[in-house]
Symmetry: C2
Subunit: 406 residues, 2 copies
């Protein structure tokens, strides 16, 4: 059984994801599709629209055979840690190939970047420093450094977020000495390759979330950008839960919590650096929405994403000590199975004896450093709900079996 690994957030699962999943499977001639999915808080420092369970079902409906969780400590991180965590999960699950979406679409230039940096890292880092000193942003500095080093070459544009992630996936595969073979599929113009998905039917997850949350649209309004089962699932979810999770719902707690922490604890929060935490604490007092708080806090140096990640770490109370302990091996310290179909199940049965980190379906009593933080992320994630509903959701963390999709 050839196993294809995908690294996903599915927030929510949309036509672009459906296309990527199917095209990757065809390109790699895989028999089983494994998705490593972020649980509660996502790479840009945002709460997921919907809990893991709903997004797991979307993935299975969309063609995934096995869905496992990316531990919290990797999920709300910059590209490098995010990639290390996700790739390590796929590596431990014996994935044969990893196929990521990229703006570039060709794997060779990514491999060239890696090879190039192996030998030129000193001068490269020197250039980065110089460009940043000249006032360029980090991604722009990266891009300029490559052009300066070898102007003739067709480098992937590393200012593009998916190219950056892709590069870090390849680096993580290399660092792990994994036998996973990296592949990529071009993200844009996805519509060209499939008659059933018109150009208009591909929208970014960001724009879909904006429609749903900021503009208060219903899943039906964005129905042309998501598969039918996803739309039905979202509609059913909304009937029970009234609304999707978004940062504004966390703001009252984030504000009250931030203002009632000892500065000595705030300094210990992971991602709190260079006095940023004091600015964070002093600014939050005068704002009454997350949006206005972040707009005021943002600077050239501290991007929106960087600040959102600090907000996530504050919400979960994750300290530097806890994060460092959880990141010690640079790998996942367990794999939590979120869902599967029959194919996924037989794959799992085949490999599970060889998996050398704990394969779990629920959080155990004795927790690994990453599991401790996974639990806190779950506790924080459901905190906008009233206590009786929170408690039900928290109980499910320990009781519900993985989703089985037949």
């Amino acid at each position: 059984m050839k196993a294809l690994g995908l690294i996903v957030e599915y927030n929510p699962f949309h036509n672009g994801h459906a296309y990527h999943l199917q095209a990757s499977k065809e390109k790699t001639k895989a028999d089983v599709v494994i998705c490593v999915m972020s649980g509660y808080f996502l790479q840009r420092g945002e709460p997921a629209l919907m809990p893991r369970r709903e997004r797991t079902l979307m993935a299975l409906q969309g063609g995934a055979d096995l869905v496992v969780e990316l531990p919290y400590i990797f999920s709300s991180q910059h590209a490098s840690w995010f990639a290390k965590g996700a790739v390590s999960v796929l590596h431990h699950l014996d994935a044969d190939v990893l196929c990521f979406g990229s703006e570039h679409g060709d794997i060779q230039p990514f491999l060239d970047v890696l090879a190039f940096l192996q030998t030129n890292d000193k001068i490269y880092n020197q250039y980065i420093k110089e460009f940043i000193y000249e006032g360029y942003s980090y991604p722009k500095a990266v891009s300029l450094a490559f052009l300066k080093l070898e102007p003739e070459k067709d480098w992937p544009d590393l200012t593009q977020p998916n190219n950056i992630l892709g590069y870090h996936y390849i680096q993580a595969v290399h660092d792990l000495k994994s036998s996973i073979k990296p592949e990529t599929i071009r993200r844009t113009k996805a519509g060209y390759h499939d008659q059933h998905i018109s150009e208009k039917s591909i929208a970014s997850a960001t724009s879909i979330r904006r429609s749903l949350i900021d503009q208060g649209e219903k899943p039906g309004d964005i129905g042309h950008t998501i598969p039918v089962p996803t739309r039905i699932l979202m509609e059913t979810y909304l009937k029970k839960q009234a609304s999707f999770f978004d940062w504004e719902q966390y703001f009252p707690l984030l504000q009250a919590k931030t203002l009632t922490l000892s500065p000595s604890y705030l300094e210990q929060i992971y991602e709190a650096e260079e006095g940023l935490e004091h600015r964070f604490q002093s600014f939050i007092k005068t704002h009454d929405s997350f949006q206005s708080f972040m707009s005021a806090l943002k600077t050239k140096r501290y991007t929106w994403t960087r600040l959102q990640r600090l907000a996530v770490q504050t919400l979960t109370g994750t300290t530097k000590t806890e994060a460092n302990e959880a990141l010690l091996t640079s790998q996942a310290d367990h794999i939590r199975i979120l869902g599967m179909n029959k194919t996924g199940q037989s794959y799992l049965n085949r490999i599970k004896k060889h998996v050398d980190i704990p394969l779990i379906t629920n959080l155990p009593k004795q927790k690994t450093p990453q599991q401790k933080l996974d639990e806190r992320a779950a506790l924080a994630y459901y905190s906008p709900l009233p206590p009786n509903k929170r408690n039900t959701k928290w109980k499910e963390e320990y009781q519900l079996p993985p989703v089985f999709f037949s």
Copy 2:
């Protein structure tokens, strides 16, 4: 000008308080009445029904001439610290006499207790230990120790909360080497002394709060137990604020905050001892009201009050280090003026040059250790309000002048 000091919570101001204030003034022939009032969180570890400002006005309407704040670090504490803080404020304000309500009603036995303990503390402490070992509660052990030491003497019953407070006031006066003269007035049967207040018109603040909060009664329903201006003030307050503050409103935040703190921080919280914080954290996850959480948490060893105080310290995030720093001198490190009338104002003008700790009307930018915690208490106190209302209340902390009552 003879100055009488009273130590009060006024939660809310009721007929018993009105009687105590007038009777104390008559008994001591004082010209000015100074009230040291707890701000946000009270001695039994509860949020005040109404903010300081409203309770300050009640006090002035009820006959107080000057109202100052008991700093947070003393206000939610066991009797000994509470007394040290409150008495030190009166001492710095040059009070001539302190008159407290007691179940006993005669000052001499309290002075005898103090004198007795000065010489017999070793054997007394030994007895306390033995009685606690035998399974008696601390107040009962105190009472039994006295009886055992000198069975013939008419000791004040130190299992009665107001007698305990009274004893600690006297001890604090003694420890400070203050010239304040302690006096007491009997609390019970207060109705006997004043024809205008029938027995029925005296109810404890606890029973009044229970009527207002648990039974949802209106200020009019308990109108016979509170002065008319207090009732009008409460009715006006409710028109603007919809409800009084009580623990249940804090529960969603307390639960979410407690569960999303690193255990290493929770251990640092003031009053978190002997692993109590882990029990606190693990119990709170499965309850959906403060009442049910506390009922489950309570043991013979950990009384309701003790646990509520831990909840207050968790809510304000006060660490042991911060508390120890704030308690270093065992005295108030500033006096915050909350309100006054003309008499209070002239008294203040007369003494203010001699007051040797900062006399403030608003929190300054550079804060003393106690002021830092006062600010956090204010932030925590208003946290049940939605962010826009919180922000207004927090701003007032820095902007509103003291209440002037003419």
